[in-house]
Amino acid sequence: MSYSKPKFKEKYGNFINGKFVEPLGGEYFENKSPIDNTLIAKYPRSQKEDVDNAVGAANKAKDAWGKTSVTERAALLNKVADIIEEHLEEFSLVETCDNGKPIRETLNADIPLAVDHWRYFAAVIRAEEGSATELDSNTLSLIIKEPLGVVAQIIPWNFPLLMLSWKLPPALAAGNCVVLKPAEQTPSTATLLMEKIADVFPPGVINIIHGFGPEAGKPLASHSKVDKVAFTGETTTGQLIMQYASKNLNPVSMELGGKSPNIFFNSVMDEDDAFLDKAIEGAVLFAFNQGEVCTCPSRLLVQEDIYDAFMEKVVARTKAIIQDNPYDVNTMVGAQASNDQFEKILSYIKIGKEEGAKVLTGGKACKLDGEFGNGYYIEPTILEGHNKMRVFQEEIFGPVLAVTKFKDEAEAIEIANDTLYGLGAGVWTRDAHQLYQIPRAIQAGRVWVNCYHAYPAHAPFGGYKKSGFGRENHLMMMNHYRQTKNMLISYDKNKLGFF
């Protein structure tokens, strides 16, 4: 079964104060589909003044919104979930068109997961409580959580609606108003969502601003009327956003990518069974979403005594990947999100080869026929080398796997931790001791054990080291969007006696 490119309007606006509005400067940029390089629509090229308006609207709305009951807020979050779910196919199609990822992923992963994150935070705020502690017989400490006010959120292009749904629900559930800037490569599903939910929230509670990083992103991240900035992206922008936040003494949360190790111990090959089949798929998950995942398992570490036999299976499974029309439900790998990403990935494959890495499969662009000939496709690629090579150390953000071998547990841990980053890791083994001890030794915020690339709500996600800080997808994210109010109450009628 195959879909085709969805219909769009000629141009779209920013969503500010409950309405779609034109950018004040009247300028737009063209957003193209990486699938075939054709125009999708024009989106606002917002400037500082547009950001000011959005932040102003959010500030006007924050007092009333912050006082709504959790019952009310939860009901609205659930309503959004229902609306996305009702239009699952439409959101999937628009996402595939905008990002280039295959429709089987948007239908089965991106959009259903997005729905669940809204429901999770709707549920969390109904169950959660503050605390009351009697510090002594006359003194009571009450802890009450209060919203921060206005939150700025800057999200990436690799899972546009899903990243929006990781960010917006906890901030709204906590009682904040939000100004969110989608990545300029993928403004479409955020816009579609605002069309569908325009009347759900009071005006100003959610505001969406489109445009370029230096023109719209920077004024938003550095805005003095914003109370917190949440960012997913790369390290240099992360540092800049922290700098700007320091001027306002604002809290920030950062998710900045990784170079995640996926470790396979020899016991995975003890049997030729369903688990081995799952393990091989686990190694090939580097190609999931064209490798455009911050936790892409892009470093494969295989124990040396099973290396040849294991890699034979991994290469065979990789070669069986169907890379074709992303609108076809059978397609497994689609287009990279943009030309500059495409060029960057090819340049990494080139330096990998120069550094002496051996190409086990792929290693070049994939030329598709017909209208897809203008899209940005790269063959799933496996490079064999060692951990000091740049292809083992830098996030390529493409379907490129760097594989090396290790001899024992100590070496596996050493290689796994020899990276600047610490976002994700995978450990695969049938040994009960390794199942616990290896994940504990790896410096990463998420270690998948005998699985990979699962992102359920209710499992905290975030980085160690240069991968950032903050834990999304979990109740604990709420505290990144709240103040703690402590009321310290005395029931003692007697004075202190000092004065």
């Binding site: 370029f212 800049l240 740049r390 240069k466």
Partner: protein
């Protein structure tokens, strides 16, 4: 200096010149990590806080090129050429509104280059 760690293509110089006219003094900083990372970013001089942990790799058309020390440890055996390509990177890099994006082409340093540039 006889050998350099960084170079820039003619096409990239043209873009850099336009940015200098518009914004004044600039710097390059090599980003790492997710999404638009692993790419050079260009900012107004003074916008990004730099200190001893940022290694100066060289100067391109009067624009300093920096990389964080930690990252440099893995890159120091390679030579970088800054080029420009059509594209739409996000991030705060100043060329993005022009519909182009700076990218890096890398090659290994030759033995002679490495002896000079990486001597202790």
């Amino acid at each position: 200096m006889k050998y350099q760690r960084v170079a820039i293509t003619k096409e990239a110089v043209e873009i850099l010149k336009k940015l200098k006219t518009k914004f004044g003094e600039l710097i390059f900083h090599q980003s790492g990590g997710c999404c638009d990372g692993s790419a050079p970013m260009v900012f107004e001089k003074g916008d990004m806080y730099l200190d001893d942990s940022d290694i100066l790799l060289g100067q391109l058309e009067g624009v300093n090129y920096y990389m964080n020390q930690d990252q440099f440890d893995y890159w120091k055996h390679t030579h970088l050429t800054v080029d420009i390509t059509e594209g739409r990177g996000s991030s705060f890099s100043l060329e993005i509104p022009m519909g182009v994006r700076f990218i890096i082409h890398s090659r290994l340093l030759t033995k002679e280059e490495s002896e000079v540039l990486n001597k202790k």
